[in-house]
């Protein structure tokens, strides 16, 4: 039973990291139809800025220092995402292949610049001592950092829900995911919503980047790779444009992957691909996605 709980909760923790990457990807694709391959670079920028802040805040990182590093990393990634959207994507709306190519280019450039500056080796991310402890849940000793991943993902989900449900910009985003031409036809500049979504998506990815660095035992220009791929899988399984769908899919994938890897090492990726194929065959719009007219 202890093992079951341990694997389940660490799986949810891993799912939380996937969700942080996927939530922005999902909204950006749902609203703008952009397959944003630069999303991994938002994560990397957030991770490096968070690392820089954490190292500046003191030789010993407190919980407050870590939260500040996480928020500043998220904000830096959000601003970087906004920069990319304003200067590259706005010139290429409705040119989907060009957008995909440009965002791939951005991710390559960011990776190369950071590799040239810091090298590709993992640099240890300063974390609070509390992260090295464990919490007893039903007899299973859960690494404390997993609780932070899960709490951050839940906070982000709630924040997203409040924004989308109770604000005008959220209403515009929800309507734009359905039919952005009609949003324009109501006299609303839907591109402002695009910028908001890019910033929020970048912020979530940046926060995710800091947490991924902790999970991966360090920061490196290469940390985003597998998370971006899993982010896309989560978006497809959860449904394009559905943040709750991304949350559900991320948790499912995290838990299934952990259990599969526990019983047969390396089986996790294979099981996730089978799950992806199954969803595409049975419910192509994803778990909570809507069929587009």
């Amino acid at each position: 039973m202890d093992t079951f709980i341990l694997i389940g909760i660490t799986g949810i923790g891993l799912g939380a990291l996937y969700f942080l990457v996927a939530s922005g990807l999902s909204l950006i694709y749902g609203l703008m139809g952009v397959l944003n391959f630069a999303h991994g670079s938002f994560l990397t920028v957030g991770a490096f800025v968070g690392y820089w802040i954490a190292t500046k805040l003191g030789p010993e990182t407190s919980m407050v220092d870590f939260v500040i590093a996480m928020i500043v990393g998220g904000l830096a990634a959000g601003l970087f995402a906004l920069l990319i959207e304003q200067h590259l994507n706005t010139r290429l709306y409705d040119r989907h292949i060009d957008q995909a190519l440009v965002t791939v280019g951005v991710s390559l450039v960011v990776g190369a610049v950071l590799a040239g500056w810091f090298g590709n080796d993992l640099i240890m991310f300063p974390t609070p001592m509390w992260f090295l402890t464990a919490i007893n849940v039903g007899g299973a000793m859960i690494p404390a950092d997993r609780v932070v991943y899960i709490a951050t993902a839940v906070l982000l989900l709630i924040g997203n829900w409040i924004l989308l449900k109770y604000t005008r910009i959220g209403l515009i985003i929800r309507a734009g995911v359905e039919n952005r031409n009609m949003v324009n036809a109501l006299g609303i500049n839907v591109r402002r919503a695009f910028s908001t979504v890019f910033f929020l998506g970048g912020f979530a990815a940046g926060v995710g980047g800091v947490l991924v660095s902790v999970y991966s035992n360090g920061v490196s220009p290469l940390i985003a790779g597998s998370y971006l791929i899993y982010g896309f899988i989560v978006v497809v399984i959860g449904g394009m444009g559905s943040v709750p769908g991304s949350f559900l899919a991320a948790m499912m994938i995290g838990v299934i992957r952990q259990f599969a890897n526990y019983y047969v090492t390396g089986l996790g990726d294979f099981v996730v691909v089978i799950l992806l194929a199954g969803v595409l065959l049975i419910r192509p719009q994803g778990l909570l996605g809507k069929v587009r007219a």
Partner: protein
């Protein structure tokens, strides 16, 4: 005085030449019906006025050039649009659909006008628009366009696909709305057109072939020749 003036409008979509120098005027405070067989470019004309398609020529709204402007700015200039197939936001509630459209700071009066016209929308405010019937969705689509002060209302086939009873309801609403609004109406239902239109434009193969009063709509042979349908005596 013309609210809208379209001159030599040419539109190509994916290399297909759809509009070949469309020229017409929409008089202020009148309902102008834009008629023609299927595929002659009526909806394309409306959607080009809305800025969905690029074109050359001129489209002036009360003397101000709007061709080439972004859609949201055209709408803010005073053009409201009720699209073919309603295009309500299916996952949003009726109230959310309406509040998205309302651009004023204080919209209470506008909501009152809309709910007087469509009392059902008030009672169904919390219902998802996607779960409404076709007629109710059409009410939402028309209501959205009435929440702001408009210079002209573009309405694209409002009775398409509706049951006969609902066609009458929509016609009643359009007749009421037309008393206070300049309207450019694309419609296949000749009975409705005869009821509300004071000015008629007929298109054929991407060109305007008739522009004038609605009296010819009562001439069976003219209707058959121009529109390829019978119904001149309806």
């Amino acid at each position: 005085m013309n609210a809208l003036s379209v001159k030599d409008l040419q539109v190509k979509i994916n290399e297909s030449h759809i509009l070949h120098g469309v020229t017409f005027e929409v008089p202020t405070n009148k309902v102008t019906a834009l008629l023609g067989r299927n595929g002659v470019g009526k909806s394309t004309t409306l959607r080009t006025i809305m800025g969905f398609y690029e074109g050359t020529g001129s489209i002036e709204l009360n003397g101000k050039q709007i061709l080439g402007m972004q859609t949201h700015k055209i709408v803010q200039s005073g053009v409201a649009f009720v699209p073919e197939d309603r295009e309500v936001f299916a996952t949003l509630t009726v109230k959310e659909n309406l509040s998205l459209a309302a651009r004023g700071k204080n919209n209470d009066e506008a909501y009152k006008v809309v709910y007087d016209l469509f009392p059902e929308l008030d009672t169904r405010a919390a219902q998802q628009a996607g779960s409404l019937s076709g007629g109710q969705q059409q009410m939402v689509a028309i209501a959205r366009s009435l929440l702001n002060k408009n210079e002209i209302l573009l309405v694209d086939e409002p009775t398409k696909g509706l049951a006969p009873k609902l066609v009458t309801e929509v016609a009643d609403v359009l007749a009421k709305v037309s008393q206070s609004t300049t309207m450019l109406l694309v419609e296949q239902n000749l009975a409705l057109v005869k009821r509300v239109a004071q000015h008629v434009i007929v298109m054929d193969q991407g060109r305007v072939v008739y522009q004038g009063g609605p009296e010819n709509l009562h001439d069976e042979s003219w209707v058959h020749q121009m529109l390829g349908v019978s119904g001149g005596h309806k």
